[in-house]
């Protein structure tokens, strides 16, 4: 909850900043992408994490896109209550080239995904928290219908470093390399 509040506070401050500074534009983007399961427990329960982005455009040539996602789930087993949460945060830094009312951008992206689980989890071999990383290269484009609204897409080459859930590390770190596409609907202030 604390992280959500911090994120929302940051977002609000940035909105005010963008309205003050003419060379900085801020927006909110909703990425539509293929589902990706995040495993929560050794019982195989998993979630599909959804997220939003805050594209920030500097002087029309540099773009920073922070992204956030959050999921919290509570399982009840008889009298026991077990809570899991996943916090997804990261950003991309892109060089932007404009063509009329279209923009194309390219650059690196770095994301962390933090999984928290109860410390008194029944299985002692299961860790209570871990952080996975995603390193990526993104090529994207967007079309602005009007000054404040756009649709766009990104082709991302992503390298996932997914740490094991088990303390013993029997299964080791899982590495994934994948080409992914994302469609984005964005609103700019």
């Amino acid at each position: 909850m604390k992280k959500i509040i911090i994120s929302l506070t940051l977002l609000t401050v940035m909105m005010f900043t963008s309205s003050q500074a003419g060379n900085i534009r801020l927006g909110i983007g909703i990425p539509l992408e293929h589902e990706r399961d995040i495993t929560l427990s050794d019982y195989g329960s998993s979630i599909v994490l959804h997220k939003f982005t805050i594209p920030i455009v500097f002087y029309s040539t540099i773009r920073i896109i922070p992204e956030f996602g959050y999921w919290k789930v509570t399982h009840k087993y008889d009298s026991e209550k077990v809570k899991y949460s996943v916090f997804h945060y990261g950003f991309g830094l892109y060089y932007v080239k404009s063509f009329e009312n279209n923009r194309m951008y390219f650059g690196p992206r770095l994301v962390a995904e933090q999984l928290n689980r109860p410390k008194d989890y029944p299985n002692p071999d299961i860790i209570s928290s871990k952080t996975d990383h995603i390193y990526g290269l993104t090529l994207g484009a967007e079309h602005l219908f009007v000054e404040h609204f756009s649709i766009g897409f990104e082709v991302q080459y992503n390298y996932y470093e997914i740490n094991p859930l088990e303390r013993s590390g029997y299964y080791g770190t899982r590495l994934r390399r994948v080409l992914e596409s994302v469609f984005i609907v964005a609103f700019y202030f």
Partner: protein, 192 residues
């Protein structure tokens, strides 16, 4: 890993000139290059135990070239790889389509043949007799689609592929399979 990076660099070489291009230079050209991202439902017509296509869905990078408004040549590249404990697998997808185009107002229709290869290569590092296994899926078909051009640079399109998939697995025994499938997809394209 190295191979995927090499292909990525080749793709970027295709795209990077656009970052230094001026708007007027593209207007006089008969050739229009672009790149696109697809969103397609999993065709899921095959499975051999290692195939994880459904885990991520499958995304492709399309590299279309339009020649004089009537010919569209479109290359496709997709990649999905994973290393997990003692198993590594790579799934590569390549494809090319040659389409005849005709335009009506802001819509470009196209139809033509397309062929593709999907190569699944898995490595097992543990004490297994079958350490490296390669399966190649071939698909051949007819594609028809249309894209709406918002302007010269950006379009949204949809296409339907009627594909015939063929694959053969030789692993002490041989399995040959042929599938016919309809694969719909949605894509957004940026033209330089």
């Amino acid at each position: 890993m190295k191979r995927s990076l090499v292909v990525l660099v080749i793709c970027l070489c295709y795209v990077f000139p656009a970052f230094s291009q001026t708007t007027t230079s593209t207007q006089t050209n008969n050739l229009h290059f672009g790149f696109a991202a697809t969103f397609e439902k999993n065709s899921a017509v095959y499975s051999d135990g290692f195939h994880r296509r459904t885990e991520f869905g499958f995304s492709k990078l399309l590299l279309p070239v339009i020649y004089k408004s009537f010919l569209k040549i479109q290359a496709e590249i997709g990649f999905n790889g994973q290393t997990y404990r003692d198993l590594t697998y790579h799934l590569w997808q390549y494809g090319i389509g040659i389409y005849y185009c005709f335009s009506k107002k802001k819509i470009r229709y196209y139809v033509g043949p397309r062929m593709g290869f999907e190569k699944l290569r898995s490595f097992v590092y543990s004490n297994s007799d079958d350490k490296i296994k390669t399966t190649t899926y071939k698909d051949l078909g007819l594609t028809t689609g249309a894209e709406f051009l918002f302007n010269r640079h950006f379009s949204c399109g949809t296409e339907i592929q009627f594909n015939r998939y063929y694959y053969k697995i030789s692993n002490g025994f041989t399995i040959e399979n042929v599938h016919l499938a309809i694969v719909p997809s949605l894509y957004l394209t940026f033209y330089f």
